[in-house]
Amino acid sequence: MLANDLRAIHPEAILAEKLERNELTLEIGADWIVPACMFLKEQQKFTRLSTVTGVDRYPSEPRFELVYHLHSVERNERVRLKCRVSGEEPEIDSVTSVWGAANWYEREVFDLFGVRFRNHPELRRIMLPDDWEGHPLRKDCQVTGPRV
């Protein structure tokens, strides 16, 4: 239902939808994330952004999955949005203009995955020191073994 409402306004936005274990996932084209979020917040009352995170699908392409968990207090519903971006110079539009909460979550994804967010007010590392090299949550970042 949610997907159909979104399709009515932005026909190309949704690439796939699935309902698994009672959780709705909408796969959104990376270029459509801001209009889709705007629609879900303004028209569908998803007033809260619960979290934004990433999944590294290395070595397959497009490599990074960005996962947005939205929540509506009023409707008592949750929805998961997913975008895939390529591994080379991963970039996507920031949703900070929709929810203020996105600010730190996107900084965290930038810090740990190295995905850049366009139009983010202050895109810099949040967890690691500013002079840290690399992005630890990427799958090609090793956990054990000698330091190279």
């Binding site: 698994e20 274990r21 959780e23 996932t25 007033t47 809260r48 952004l49 619960s50 979290t51 995170t53 999944v55 590294d56 996962v67 968990h69 207090v73 008592n76 949750r78 998961r80 929810w99 203020g100 909460a101 600010n103 730190w104 740990l112 590392r125 949040i126 967890m127 690691l128 630890p136 949550l137 970042c141 956990v143 054990t144």
Partner: protein, 413 residues
């Protein structure tokens, strides 16, 4: 009496200095670094505060000092080993995190948890809530200047930690909830121990209230302080008691019940004032409601097994393992390899003492999670610091951030 009446004091500034201040009004601003080591931040949080006299013009929180890479570490541990990591995220609410992680993985597995384990989980999670709120109340009161409340709160907290020790052998990092149920059978005599505690606890809450609720200094320091609008809170991701102190009646235990919370009778306290005092009242009332839940769990505790009937996931009893071939094989498989979890992803949320805890678990069908993301409530709450304190007085900063009740391990992970 003005300054000019005192002999020898001139009220006007020398001409040049006066002109300079007029031309550059921002010159008097001072930047103050509060933290990373500051007793009232209860951890390593740094607040860069820009001051104009005593007014806060800008407040920039800086986190990450406690980042330990827990999310990465999940990926090299088996699902069951991951439980121990969840304890270490939030040292005041380890069981809430245990519960959320276990529920997420159990949802992936499609595992049915016996009622006895579910009720014990509810009871212990509520004890965790008491534990966390007690530490919050004690330290928050000390920050504001009420010394003695701390001692009262820690008296009860000590008893809760002893109960945790009796259950799991550990006071803080309990890891008592495991995927598939509980780690051990509840200890002998737990009923008497919990009854003894819960019988006196409501009167102890009265004691805290006697010390604070009508205390003029307490009211003066907390009423009307730390206001942030509901729209801002929802926008920035603040959850839990803070949101309820603004009047939003949203508690995950009621809205999306888990672990049979729907079978318990309790109320979700809310207030309208949206200040530090309202947050205090909400948490005090939450303690009373938690005590009610524990009372109900104690009286209605179902009998039965404490682990699910899933031999490929839950370790067999010691006796069986030594006498039955089948059990020995399962034991060997679980210990050496772990169990496989079907492919998929879940996002499970629970109401921790601080707000919405969320675990996003992605499985690729192997015995180790492909990705685990933790949505810590402190992370979301802390993001709202700037909006809450900007434009207020520096003296109210401590009261305001104290009322957020954050744990830095939870926000930095």
């Amino acid at each position: 009496m003005s300054d000019s009446d005192i002999p020898g004091v001139t009220a006007t500034l020398p001409e040049t200095e006066a002109r300079e201040t007029e031309a550059r009004p921002t010159v008097r601003r001072m930047t103050l670094n509060m933290g990373p080591q500051h007793p009232s931040t209860h951890g390593v949080l740094r607040l860069q505060v820009e001051l104009d006299g005593e007014n806060i013009v800008r407040c920039m929180p800086e986190i990450g000092y406690l980042h330990t890479g827990i999310e990465k570490e999940f990926e090299v541990k088996t699902y069951q080993q991951g439980v121990t990591l969840t304890d270490r995220i939030d040292y005041l609410a380890p069981l809430s995190n245990n519960l959320c992680y276990c529920l997420a993985v159990e949802k992936l597995l499609g595992l049915e948890i016996p009622p006895m384990a579910q009720w014990t989980r509810v009871m212990l999670t509520e004890l965790t809530r008491l534990n966390s709120h007690l530490v919050w109340l004690g330290t928050h009161a000390i920050d504001i200047g009420a010394m003695s409340v701390f001692l009262y709160c820690f008296r009860e907290r000590e008893e809760i930690l002893r109960i945790f020790e009796m259950y799991s052998g550990q006071r803080m990092m309990t890891s008592y909830f495991r995927i598939g149920g509980l780690a051990l059978e509840p200890p002998r005599g737990w009923q008497q121990r919990i009854r003894k505690f819960i019988d006196v606890f409501p009167s102890r809450v009265d004691e805290y209230e006697d010390l604070l609720t009508n205390n003029r200094i307490w009211i003066g320091r907390t009423k009307g302080v730390g206001y942030i609008s509901i729209e801002d809170m929802l926008d920035i991701g603040i959850t839990g008691p803070m949101l309820r102190a603004g009047g939003v009646d949203w508690d995950i235990r009621k809205a999306q019940p888990y672990s049979s919370y729907e079978k318990f009778d309790f109320e979700v306290p809310t207030r309208k004032d949206n200040d530090v005092y309202a947050r205090y009242l909400v948490r005090i009332e939450e303690m009373r409601q938690s005590a009610r839940i524990i009372q109900q769990a104690l009286e209605g505790m179902p009998s039965g097994r404490w682990t699910a009937d899933a031999p490929h996931i839950v370790l067999p009893d010691r006796e069986k393992m030594k006498t039955e071939m089948e059990a020995l094989i399962y034991h060997f498989k679980i210990v050496t390899e772990g169990f496989r979890v079907p492919e998929g992803e879940v996002y499970q949320v629970v109401e921790s003492p601080r707000g919405e805890v969320g675990y996003y678990v992605v499985s690729d069908g192997t015995p180790k999670p492909y990705r685990v993301h933790v949505r810590g409530p402190s992370f979301g709450n802390l993001q709202g610091v700037s909006r809450m304190v900007e434009g207020t007085l520096i003296a109210d900063l401590i009261a305001a951030i104290g009322s957020m009740d954050f744990v830095l391990g939870d926000s930095d992970r």
